[in-house]
């Protein structure tokens, strides 16, 4: 039955395919669109277009109402045949479009003005449709390639950091190829892994589900994100859809927002070649102040004295005389203080006629690491785009494809933790013979870990084709087809040389963990659009369907015991080979969606969107759900009573939206009661284990979003601002309910009757401070203040969440002990015993609630241009609390280095500390120390203001470079940070990993 009905689904797909194939046959009998009358006079018009500084090549010069057009050449010159009654239209992206009637002129020169203020005309991509910014009813923010190319970063999420209101992005490691966390308008789901937005590249959903395995990604806090495959250099613009109006058309996948990535497209004009070469370096921006040897050894001696130990134990090599007590090494400098190099080459070739345009681009990027040793991360990418339009402009096709290969050769562990904890008088890394020093087996040399490597390749192929045909009578049929294919293989190589030779281990213990992932998906989206204008009214209707399938498989294996370490990359030569995980998943998704947009006079706009979704991730009977939204906008600035009375107001719009979206990020097959292979064998039988606790009764979670916003422009839009208020409420939360170990599992997948609210205000302001011929200065400012709240949770008291959440409080809270100072008799940390039972326990005494979500965050961006020189800089700021340097530091006095501040400790009655008296292994002190790290003393202000990005560029004057265009620039990332935070980096939440690096690059761009 099931098989049969699957075929039925496929048939429908065929209809869609066949219909689009038919549609691809262009109607060659278009009516001529321009009529020539004999009274008109044929002229040849020519001229030069400049931008006030130099010639402007690539400007489209067309005749209004006709398809005839030409492009200016490299020196800005053009020639076109027209008649004296024609009107010439000069257009160029980023510049104001100018229309000039020809009349008797035969030479028309023009100085084009940058389109800095004409914001309302900008077209915004809303996914299935695009909309003029002024007529937008939804909440959508956008960055373009102009913002992206100023940043020396390789991850697409990095390019958005600090530039978008309501979008909070944090980098989780400075290791090349590492990931970023993104939250669009807060954390909606209680499931930490259920908060990713939907990514769509040129219309094709791109799964951001992790592709790694914990066996092969120990050097990073999170597993590899497939988003690494996207080359920021190929991106034309990124739009983030936030509210219900914008996201409801994405239905079940829109709850956490939608990130639309549009890649660069070919442009009409003479074939031009552009290449950009950048080179630079990266370093850890800030080290923690740690104890030096005299301070450290004094601490250790005092610790033993406090413990009543006079004979230092055998393993206390630092103080018992085994190690030289005069050595003093700054391990941060030694282990993570290196310089990473950064090289990026991006070239593109583009051009085409009015009918057909193409773009071919390639990119090569190489980064090394700050660790000692030879490690690198290489990314190469090719991108091709072809657009074609039939002569009658009825048929259009856009084809885009990209291929990215990533090669990583990175250390298998991050040495940051070692750099911070290694004792300062530890022996040198190398002995006199230049070999790793084990100091007679007393020293676990951290560099040995670098003998282990994580090596791998990721190949990612992406193709999509968009066909559209104007059926006449306002109807347009469109079909978007896409395919993605991702292949990753990673190996975590652990040769025997990572071990202390004291173990006497040879290549027979060398091991390799491998992870191979293949994931491919296809999507077909037939759509039909209709537009109609009656008088002052305009109606647009869109209906479509989505069929999507994603298939993935993963194989994780371990191989151990090689005849030689040089064979380690070949599992076939291993003595033992174990399959740890072999998994395949199929995800199928189907939807129907629609949109109706009513526009009266361009002033009153109503936008209705809806979607009905089905997903294979839910059990029978629970697969389908419907989502929808309504959005409305009133352009009050266009009302005559406003225009007449408030003349400084150049634009005014009120918009609001309400709707529902869903979330199906729950993994596949979770509703089944199954056994799966465990990866271990016994008696030659491969074991089967219960996969999960069985619960077939879970369904969609819903997210209701409400938004109201005011958009205004003043003084001809030289000042423009948006203030938005939003409120998202998620209910039927689909979570992994944490369960006590006695159930055999850690969680159960189920809908929770809890409701979470995320609300906030977003404010953005754009000002054109100076707009002159030689000097211009534009500022952008955005700030988001966000709050989450657990609205209701029936049965919280009796649930396993009892000690985690509090009704009325945010969901990102931690409950901690309240630190009350030092015990003046023992010198140990003391905490509030809330229930006065004489015993401190997490359940009863962790009563202080700390909120770790940012209070507000934002960015301040400036773009200053003086003649040929352009300076851009951006500050990012976050107001937040976070775990500080007192979190997870070992007890002061153990054989672990400590922050320098720890010298301020209790020694005698009256001492204020703040740190407790030293001890090597006193059980009570250890308990106090652990509780201290789980108390309010370990959480403090982690706010920061960071000069996130600076870019200075200089365009060589055209007189110097006649035939080409040349730009030199200097770019920097994470240049300066102002913060009260004493840890390694305040942005960063994953302790013990390499913080984001400070990167400085220079680049040269040449265009022919």
């Amino acid at each position: 039955m099931k098989n049969f009905s699957f075929c039925k689904g496929r048939e429908v797909l065929w209809y869609a395919f066949i219909s689009t194939m038919y549609l691809t046959c262009p109607d060659t009998f278009a009516k001529p669109t321009t009529k020539y009358s004999p009274t008109q006079q044929q002229l040849q018009i020519s001229g030069t277009i400049t931008d006030g500084i130099g010639a402007l090549p690539g400007v489209t010069v067309g005749i209004k109402g006709s398809t005839i057009s030409t492009i200016t050449d490299l020196s800005g010159k053009y020639t076109i045949n027209a008649t004296n009654t024609d009107i010439l239209v000069f257009s160029y992206i980023g510049y104001k479009t100018v229309e000039i009637p020809i009349g008797s002129q035969s030479i028309i020169n023009l100085e084009m003005k940058e389109d800095a203020t004409d914001l309302q005309e900008v077209t915004i991509n809303a996914g299935y449709y695009s909309v003029k910014d002024s007529e937008r009813t939804g909440s959508i923010t956008k960055i373009t390639s102009k913002d992206i190319e100023k940043q020396p970063v390789t991850n697409v999420l990095a390019t958005m950091q600090g530039r978008m209101a309501g979008v909070n992005i944090t980098q989780n490691t400075g290791m090349p190829g590492g990931g970023f966390d993104i939250e669009i308008r807060g954390q909606n789901s209680l499931r930490l892994d259920g908060n990713s937005p939907l990514y769509i590249i040129d219309g094709v959903p791109y799964s951001s589900q992790e592709i790694g395995s914990s066996y092969t990604s120990g050097n990073m806090p999170a597993q590899n994100s497939p988003l690494n495959s996207i080359n920021p250099g190929n991106i034309s613009n990124i739009e983030v859809l936030k509210d219900a109006d914008a996201t409801a058309i994405y239905g079940s996948r829109g709850a956490n927002g939608v990130v639309l990535i549009t890649t660069k497209k070919g442009r009409e004009g003479k074939t031009s070649f552009s290449t950009n070469y950048s080179n630079g370096y990266g370093q850890v921006a800030h080290f923690i102040d740690l104890m030096d040897t005299p301070q450290y050894l004094a601490m250790r001696r005092e610790a033993f004295a406090n413990d009543g130990i006079t004979d230092y134990p055998a393993e206390a090599y630092d103080v018992n005389g085994t190690w030289n007590q005069d050595r003093n090494t700054n391990w941060q400098k030694q282990l993570i203080g290196g310089t990473a190099s950064y090289t990026n080459i991006q070239s593109s070739l583009s051009g085409g006629s009015a009918q057909t345009q193409f773009l071919l681009s390639g990119n090569y990027n190489k980064e090394t690491t700050v660790y000692p040793g030879d490690f690198d991360y290489i990314k190469a990418n090719g991108h091709f785009n072809l657009n074609h339009e039939s002569l009658d402009q009825k048929f259009k096709v856009t084809f885009t494809t990209g291929y990215t290969a990533q090669f990583n050769n990175l250390p298998s562990v991050d040495l940051t933790r070692d750099a911070i904890t290694l004792v300062p008088n530890a022996p040198s890394l190398y002995d006199s013979a230049g070999k790793l020093n084990w100091e007679n087996n007393t020293f676990e040399n951290p560099l040995a870990k670098l003998e282990g490597k994580i090596k791998g390749q990721t190949y990612d192929f992406l193709a999509n084709i968009l066909l559209s045909y104007d059926l006449g009578m306002g109807f347009t049929a469109k079909t978007s087809l896409g395919y993605t294919d991702l292949r990753q293989s990673q190996m975590n190589l652990l040769p025997s040389t990572t071990y202390n030779p004291a173990y006497g281990l040879g290549s027979e213990v060398s091991a390799v963990f491998s992870n191979t992932v293949n994931r491919n998906s296809w999507i077909a989206e037939p759509q039909l659009g209709w537009g109609y204008t009656i008088g002052k009214g305009k109606i647009e209707v869109l209906a479509g369907a989505t069929f999507q399938q994603q298939k993935s498989n993963q194989l994780v294996s371990a191989a151990e015991g090689f005849a030689s370490n040089s064979l380690i990359e070949n599992p076939a030569s291993a003595a033992n080979y174990l399959i740890l995980n072999s998994d395949e998943t199929l995800y199928k998704y189907q939807a129907f969606f629609g949109r109706v947009n009513l526009n009266w006079q361009g002033k009153y706009i109503l936008n209705l969107t809806g979607r009905r979704d089905g997903s294979s991730r839910f059990g029978p009977g629970r697969q389908f759900a419907t989502f929808g939204a309504v959005g409305a906008a009133w352009l009050f600035g266009d009302e005559s009573f406003i225009k007449q009375n408030i003349n400084f107001l150049s634009f005014g719009k009120l918009r609001t939206s309400y709707g529902t979206t869903g979330n199906d990020q729950i993994g596949d097959y979770q509703y089944l009661d199954t056994y799966s292979t465990s990866g271990y064998t016994y008696q030659g039988v491969s074991g089967l284990q219960p996969t999960r606790l069985y619960n077939p009764n879970f369904g969609w979670e819903t997210n209701r979003k409400l938004e109201a916003a005011l958009e205004m422009g003043f003084l001809n839009d030289r000042i423009s601002t948006t203030i938005a208020w939003y409120r998202n409420r998620s209910s039927s939360q689909l979570v992994g309910i944490p369960l006590p170990g006695t159930t055999g599992f850690a969680e159960l997948r189920a809908n929770l009757d809890a409701e979470v609210q995320n609300s906030g205000m977003e404010f953005s302001l754009r000002t054109v401070n100076v707009q002159g011929k030689d000097f211009s200065w534009i500022s952008n400012f955005n700030i988001t203040s966000a709050k989450s709240e657990l609205l209701s949770f029936p049965g919280l008291e009796g649930s396993s969440y009892k000690n985690q959440y509090v009704i009325g409080q945010p969901i990102n809270i931690v409950k901690v002990y309240h630190y009350t100072g030092l015990n003046q008799t023992t010198g140990s940390y003391q905490f509030e015993d809330y229930n006065n039972d004489g015993n401190l326990s997490a359940a009863d005494d962790k009563k202080i609630i700390k909120n770790l979500s940012p209070k507000f965050y934002g960015g301040f961006q400036n773009q200053i241009r003086y003649g040929n020189v352009q300076l851009d800089f951006m500050f990012q700021f976050v107001k937040q609390q976070n775990f500080n340097e007192n979190f997870r530091t070992s007890m002061p006095g153990t054989m672990v280095n400590q922050p320098e501040a720890v010298i301020n400790h209790w020694q005698k009655t009256g001492d204020e500390g703040p740190y407790q008296s030293y001890s090597n292994n006193n059980a009570e002190k250890r308990a106090a120390s652990i509780r201290y790290s789980q108390s309010d003393a370990a959480i403090s202000d982690a706010s920061f203001i960071r000069l996130k990005n600076v870019s200075i560029s200089f365009d060589l004057p055209r007189d110097w470079t006649k035939k080409f265009f040349c730009k030199i620039s200097l770019q920097a990332q994470n240049l300066l940070t102002i913060t009260p935070y004493k840890g390694i980096d305040p942005e960063f939440r994953s302790s013990g990993y390499l913080p984001p690096l400070r990167i400085i690059t220079t680049s040269l761009q040449v265009t022919f």
Partner: protein, 476 residues
């Protein structure tokens, strides 16, 4: 002209096509709404998974589910030979092992008796154990519901699962004290369970083992001793009765095992005791792949000094007399020229040997002799007790015991247990505890030992998730 007519015809045709297609698309979309192509989103089971029902419809897959529990016991939780298991952790906790590794590590906290309820090592022991118990309960329920399995196979699987359930609860209660006894897979019940007094836990363990002894076959399944048989269950029952001071039952249960003289042959050579083929073995866990050996060897053996993590405690080395062959056979000295350290050398093979040489032994006949010796001494059977005690002494090259009174014999048996079972699954800790000697013995050698250290803490995370588990054990 003719041409244009032709074209016109084509054009009409095409226009017709376009309209048709347009209608077709609309129709497809509508028809989907109406007929509901819901089935598009139905997916079949992936090839890597089987439904729970199907697993127990076939002997092979039911067996695969059962053996998976043994791999789990081998790899994690209380009984693993790896550094997180009790063989090494309780060795460090008592006076068997000395720690040389990084101060502040989980092992150091066991060694310093400074464990906290929030230590991840503690919650790992707890959760892996209950996961093993869940799997056993799933077997019991699956087998019960199965229509296709033969009675013989049902008995065996049920017997093994009951044995495992009793075994894991036995170790849990000895380590954590009062614990919940889990007998179902129902998470609704299991997530709000209360702790049960130790004596009630023991009653349930005994019940499970007695049932298992009835169901399990007398012979081993397969050619090796890697699946529990009836005598395996009896052997554990003997230990439990000993711990409960039920001397008659203990003696009877161990006799039932030792009387299987065809199966269990007392060895003549000490060096063969820990080999996989040893006929003194009652139950052992085999490695994942032929050629691999034990986690115990990986944990305990080192070849150069000073040791990088742990070595035998000097106190233990001193207890061995010079005639004791176990000192040379089961301990190995390593020196750097000036100092000397010992490691446990019962399991010797750290790496792949082509064909496996050693398996991890859970139950062996030496324990049965010493259980019976102790029980007989308590029963007043001095001759029988001495006979049993001399079994291990003889094999170790020691003279017959000179003890004459029951008390002397018991003292000797406990000493013999210390020498025989060091670094084996927490025997030392359990023996000291059940005989009330923890404080007197450990206070002098473990500076931070306290009376409340007789129990490990209930993991803090578990108390947070299930407040019914309160109160925490004393001292934490």
């Amino acid at each position: 002209m003719k041409n244009s007519k032709l074209f016109q015809g084509l054009r009409h045709h095409q226009n017709y096509n376009v309209r048709a297609i347009f209608l077709f698309v609309i129709w497809s979309i509508l028809s989907c709404f109406i007929t509901g192509c819901d089935n598009f989103v139905d997916v079949d089971l992936p090839s890597s998974q089987l439904t729970a029902e199907d697993v127990f419809e076939d002997k092979a897959t039911a067996n695969a589910a059962m053996v998976d529990i043994y791999t789990k016991i081998r790899e994690n939780g209380l009984l693993t030979g790896g550094p997180s298991g009790i063989s090494s952790q309780l060795g460090l906790y008592t006076d068997e092992l000395t720690f040389y590794g990084v101060s502040g590590s989980g092992q150091a906290n066991f060694y310093n008796n400074s464990l906290l309820a929030s230590d991840t090592e503690i919650s790992e022991l707890w959760t892996s154990s209950y996961n093993q118990i869940y799997s056993a309960n799933a077997i019991i329920e699956g087998v019960n519901a199965s229509n296709a399995l033969q009675a013989k196979d049902k008995d065996q699987l049920m017997g093994e699962a009951l044995f495992v359930r009793g075994l894991i609860h036995f170790y849990l209660t000895n380590v954590f004290g009062n614990i919940p006894y889990i007998i179902t897979t129902d998470y609704k019940q299991n997530s709000i369970v209360h702790r049960m007094p130790e004596n009630e836990v023991y009653d349930l363990i005994k019940k499970d083992l007695e049932q298992a002894s009835k169901l399990l076959p007398e012979e081993y399944t397969g050619t090796e001793r890697v699946r529990p048989n009836k005598w395996t269950s009896q052997a554990l029952l003997a230990r439990i009765c000993l711990y409960l001071q039920q001397w008659d039952e203990a003696s009877d249960a161990s006799s039932s095992v030792l009387n299987q003289t065809g199966l269990y042959v007392w060895p003549t050579d000490l060096s063969s005791v820990f080999l996989k083929g040893s006929s003194a073995t009652i139950w052992q866990l085999m490695p994942a792949i032929d050629g691999m050996n034990t986690h115990e060897a990986e944990t305990f053996v080192f070849t150069q000094g000073p040791p990088s993590s742990l070595a035998i405690n000097d106190e233990l080395v001193k207890v061995f007399t010079t005639q004791d062959l176990r000192k040379d056979n089961w301990l190995k000295a390593v020196t750097d020229g000036t100092s000397i350290w010992y490691h446990a050398n019962k399991y010797k093979e750290q790496t792949n040997t082509g064909s496996s040489v050693e398996y991890s032994i859970v139950l062996r006949t030496a324990e049965q002799y010493l259980i019976r010796a102790e029980a007989r001494a308590h029963q007043g059977d001095i001759i029988g007790a001495k006979e049993d005690l001399d079994k291990t002494r003889n094999l170790a090259g020691l003279n017959k015991t000179s003890a004459t009174t029951a008390e002397e014999i018991i003292t000797e048996v406990l000493l013999e247990r210390r020498l025989e079972f060091f670094t084996e699954l927490g025997h030392r800790f359990f023996d000291l505890k059940r005989t009330g000697r923890l404080d007197t013995t450990l206070s002098s050698v473990k500076p931070q030992w306290g009376t409340t250290d007789r129990l490990l803490p209930i993991p803090e995370s578990e108390l947070l998730l299930n407040p019914n588990l309160a109160p925490q054990n004393a001292g934490y």
